[in-house]
């Protein structure tokens, strides 16, 4: 074994290997910064070179690329509130508020430093763990995986914000959206309304962008300021490093957990950030700043995030089952290189296995280092007046969501769900609770059904289930015991005109009823989960409705951020709906004339009318935007949505 380690180390430290690794990291950085583009786009870029390359160097390039993507997508999560991938969604919660406070450089540096440590710790654990992982990983059956989803869901209490009732209802909403599409047990299509697009459910990237990015962009457009409210960069990189050192035990805990949970096939990646975020909130003494820019809320998910990628190597290398989306691509790349992962690899190619694990660690160091260097200049983006940034942001989320499945449904889903999210935000229905429900719905339904099928109801008494169950109870207890006591006073202003929020709550209740109605006549296995979820959701939203009609005006149930900001210093000139219409115009333009021309026209209109830019600057930015899309499109062979116009006049613009 020592031989294999030395041999593996030899591979990693050879100059050529390192060079290709850095090349991969560089490519990954460029691609990862753009939300929605991940390993898949990178792979299409690398592929022409992979063929005929020495496998170890090719592997180094691939690993470099894949390792840095979960690191570099932190840029948009922190700076713009745009979750670049499922791994960086929890980072948005505190990262973006920090940017608003003008502490973007600090948040980024802390995130990258935490990522770096996480990656290294992950690799260290894996070095030993990979040898004994098989029996351990195999002891996690469907029942244990189901319990992990329950543990994830128990974090809702922490993510609920002001009102637990709304938190539970929002989580139910997420769960209900998560049941859209084919039922895992029977394949029946639920709530698809005969749309083929919905038969696979909504893509996570689209939901994340709609929930977090669109409402933030709209709000920023209304405020007319820069992202950083002080228009300056306050505490900087040094502070970020100090933060990580100060919270070193947190980093260590989250890295270890990230690596271990990430190693479970079939679930790993999706829950770990949320579990770690919930963990840090539960164990913190002072919780008041979470969601408003607590650095720990950035450090916890980010240190888990990169360690998770390391953990994801376990199912990939040991079982040939991808542990995450990027690992699926990595697996494909390995097969193309003629490397067959599986138990045999550990027996006969242990040196290669170690080379892969340590390359991942090395790529993390190089990638996170490069990101730290970039963090200050890139953070300056947050000081630009938002009028100039907004059209770019809208273009980016449109483009990013379309990369999910390259179907028009992606864009429509983004728009419609973004519309809903605008009000979720305004009326205080916590979006993180929605998202965690959405993320966990398919896994919890599938694993519960499978556990019952495999073990009958005896699955409850499996030791692993009992342990995770105890952890879940502990987590709920901690959440209740240390919940913030005081009800915030800002709520008082909100009750001025309660009708908008009452109507919205009624609509949510209505949605649950539709979900119930849609599912009632399905087979038992097809309906039991959505009906339970929608039933619970209907109860909680009904409770919210009752409270909204009956409670006294100071009650925490009332939230209308629109009213509250109106009370503040300067009322926004235009409504949120006004700016959503601008986005609708971009969407409609894309539908009519295709993305590239629509973006060009949108930039002209928005920059002239809204940002008040000079013609010269307007043209410059519009050309820059289209040029950027064209360049990236050519480089990565990305398709952009085509418009009706191209069809009508039979325009053939293909190369």
């Amino acid at each position: 074994m020592l031989d294999a380690m030395l041999l593996g180390l030899g591979h990693v430290l050879s100059g050529e290997h390192f060079l290709f690794l850095c090349l991969g990291v560089l490519l990954g950085l460029v691609i990862g910064i753009l939300p929605g583009l991940g390993g898949i786009a990178g792979m299409s870029l690398l592929l022409p070179f992979l063929y005929g390359m020495d496998p170890i160097s090719a592997l180094a390039m691939l690993i470099g690329l894949i390792a840095v993507i979960p690191t570099s997508d932190t840029f948009t999560s922190v700076l713009m509130g745009i979750p670049g991938s499922s791994g960086s969604q929890a980072t948005v919660l505190d990262g973006f508020p920090l940017s608003k406070k003008g502490e973007a450089a600090r948040a980024l540096t802390a995130a990258f430093a935490a990522s770096l440590v996480g990656g290294l710790v992950g690799a260290l654990i894996l070095t030993a763990f990979i040898l004994v992982a098989r029996p351990l990983v195999l002891s996690f059956g469907s029942a244990e995986l189901f319990m992990l989803t329950v543990l994830g869901l128990s974090m809702v209490g922490v993510l609920a914000g002001r009102s637990l009732v709304k938190g539970l209802a929002a989580c139910g909403l997420g769960l209900a959206f998560g049941t859209l599409g084919g039922a895992p047990a029977t394949g029946e299509f639920r709530m698809t309304f005969d749309l083929i697009y919905l038969t696979d459910g909504l893509p996570l990237v689209v939901v994340g962008l709609a929930l977090f990015a669109l409402p933030e962009i709209v709000d920023l457009m209304r405020s007319g300021r820069s992202i950083s409210e002080t228009a300056r960069l306050g505490a900087g990189r040094l502070q970020g490093l100090i933060d990580v050192i100060r919270h070193r035990w947190l980093v260590l805990r989250c890295s270890i957990m990230g690596c271990l949970i990430g190693a479970l096939p079939g679930l790993g990646g999706t829950v770990v950030d949320w579990i770690m975020y919930g963990h840090v909130v539960q164990t913190a003494r002072d919780k008041t700043q979470f969601g408003k820019g607590d650095i720990r809320g950035v450090i916890a998910p980010e240190s888990a995030n990169n360690a998770k990628e390391g953990g994801g190597l376990v199912p990939t290398l040991l079982f040939g089952v991808p542990g995450s989306g990027s690992m699926a691509v990595f697996l494909g790349g390995m097969v193309l290189l003629g490397i067959e992962p599986g138990v045999r690899m550990l027996q006969y190619q242990l040196d290669l296995t170690y080379a892969i694990i340590w390359s991942l660690a090395l790529a993390n160091v190089v990638g996170a280092g490069a990101c730290i260097l970039l963090s200050r200049p890139v953070a300056k983006l947050t000081t630009i007046p938002y009028g100039y940034l907004a059209p770019f942001m809208l273009m980016v989320i449109l483009f990013a969501s379309y990369q999910a499945t390259r179907h028009w449904g992606d864009i429509l889903a983004l728009f419609l769900l973004g519309f809903v999210a605008l009000y979720l935000k305004r009326f205080g229905w916590p979006r993180p609770a929605f998202l965690i429900g959405f993320v966990l719905a398919p896994a919890s339904e599938t694993y519960l059904y499978q556990a019952v099928q495999f073990y009958g109801w005896d699955w409850i008494w499996r030791p692993g289930v009992l342990v995770i169950g105890a952890l879940t109870l502990g987590s709920i207890y901690l959440g209740i015991r240390f919940a913030p006591k005081e009800v915030e006073k800002t709520a008082a202003a909100a009750a001025e005109n309660p009708w908008p929020q009452r109507i919205f709550a009624l609509l949510i209740l209505g949605f649950f009823l539709v979900c119930l109605w849609d599912n009632l006549d399905r087979s038992f296995l097809g309906r039991v989960f959505p009906v339970t979820v929608a039933g619970a959701g209907a109860l909680f939203s009904l409770l919210a409705v009752v409270l909204l009609f009956r409670a006294g005006s100071g009650h925490a149930i009332y939230t209308d951020l629109d009213r509250e900001s109106a009370v503040g210093d300067r009322p926004p000139e235009r409504s949120a709906e006004h700016y959503l219409l601008w986005f609708a115009a971009l969407v409609a333009g894309t539908w009519l004339i295709g993305l590239l021309p629509a973006v060009f026209l949108f930039f002209l209109a928005f920059l002239r009318l809204k940002a008040g830019a000079s013609w010269a600057l307007t043209l410059l930015l519009a050309v820059a935007a289209v040029g950027f899309l064209v360049f990236m499109g050519g480089l990565l062979t990305i398709v952009y949505p085509e418009g009706l116009l191209e069809d009508w006049i039979g325009l053939d613009l293909r190369p």
Binding site: G320, E340, H407, E445, G634, T637, I649, P655
Partner: protein, 365 residues
């Protein structure tokens, strides 16, 4: 810089310069040649999966051997169990040799079962390549049987199979177990064959199958460790369409042989006919490549010649051997024949399967 042209072209069109400036449009009667072109290969599955890897093994060799050395780009259009990508190809692909579609058994089955999501018609397309594969069924070592001939010892035992869904490719194994008389309970909701195998390794699942490549690399170690016992392969088709032993697993009986070992006679009847039809559509002709209908003959010939050269390239043969198994990659008339067999499933067989799905798995299509 393919998109440079496209982008500038698009903006120019909007600015009123019209389609006149469109640089990319081909002049009408060009010699059949793909030089300077980009070929878009639609794969209706996500990146990283079996069909994606299959296409990516082929793509660089197509690039090398097609007349004019075009750039071949794999475009993943996943969704709707591969119906979205296939529908898109049916509706939008232009017949100019620059868009091709790669299908898999998962594209064939919904078509054969008249799934409402299907808006494509195989008969409209021009088949240019077929890639067969096979599969091996295996059982947990804990039952103590050594091969298919001892299957009668476990007929009373309830076996568990982890499935992606009764109308997926799993139709073939589920129907095979049923015909064999085995008592198999299917547990659905598996995402991919890999998950089913991991559940087998965990001991939750007791009977499973893998396609050839996955079986060789990932199940053989389990067989060596005594955790898995191979039962039979699905088999392969000979020139005349008869079921014969799979060339990749010459030592394993094929399904019909195994049936004979257990029951003393060859399988027959509507269930068997249906199984064989769906086996052909799902495995013997698992992956296929099509040009859109109406593609000019000279362009079809460019593709046929190119693919002939690809499958004869020794470097490709070596790569394919490893990843796709020891199956002949079929072009030209042979490909048309195999596609014909795959989609010409007799109505009786279709109806029989639909009834079976409804009665056994409560699936209404």
């Amino acid at each position: 810089m393919t998109y440079l042209r496209k982008g500038l072209g698009g903006v120019a069109a909007v600015l009123g310069l019209g389609a006149a400036l469109v640089t990319g449009a081909p002049t009408a009667a060009q010699a059949a040649d793909l030089s300077g072109r980009t070929v878009e290969w639609i794969i209706p599955f996500a990146a990283g999966g079996g069909s994606d890897v299959w296409a990516r093994i082929y793509a660089p060799f197509m690039q090398r051997h097609l007349a004019g050395q075009p750039n071949v780009v794999v475009r993943n259009v996943p969704g709707g169990g591969s119906t979205i990508g296939a529908n898109q190809f049916q509706q939008r692909a232009r017949p100019d040799g620059r868009t091709i579609l790669g299908t898999s058994g998962s594209t064939q089955f919904p078509y054969l079962l008249d799934d409402q999501r299907v808006q494509y018609e195989y008969r409209d397309w021009i088949p240019i390549l077929a890639s067969p594969t096979g599969g091996v069924a295996y059982i947990s070592g804990r039952f103590g049987i050594e091969d298919a001939s001892q299957l009668d010892q476990v007929m009373e035992t309830e076996l568990v199979y982890g499935s992606q869904g009764a109308t997926s490719l799993d139709l073939v194994p589920l129907l095979a177990f049923d015909i064999m008389g085995m008592n198999v309970r299917a547990v659905f909701g598996m995402q991919g064959r890999g998950e089913g195998r991991v559940a087998f390794e965990r001991g939750e699942v007791t009977v499973d199958y893998q396609t050839s490549a996955a079986y060789i690399s990932r199940v053989t170690p389990l067989v060596e460790a005594g955790e898995a016992v191979p039962l039979f392969s699905w088999g392969a088709l000979d020139e005349d369409g008869n079921l014969v032993r799979d060339p990749t697993f010459p030592d394993l009986p094929h399904f019909a042989e195994a049936y004979e070992m257990v029951h003393g006679e060859a399988p027959s009847g509507p269930a068997w006919d249906a199984w064989k039809a769906f086996f052909i559509a799902g495995f013997a002709a698992q992956k296929m490549v099509f040009l859109p209908g109406g593609t000019p003959d000279d362009m079809v010939e460019v593709w046929r010649e190119g693919l002939d050269a690809v499958v004869a390239d020794p470097e490709f043969v070596e790569a394919a051997q490893e990843e796709l198994g020891a199956y002949p990659q079929v072009t030209r008339a042979a490909a048309e024949r195999i596609v014909e067999m795959a989609i010409n499933v007799p109505d009786e067989a279709k109806e029989w399967v639909k009834t079976w799905l409804r009665e056994k798995y409560n699936v209404d299509i």
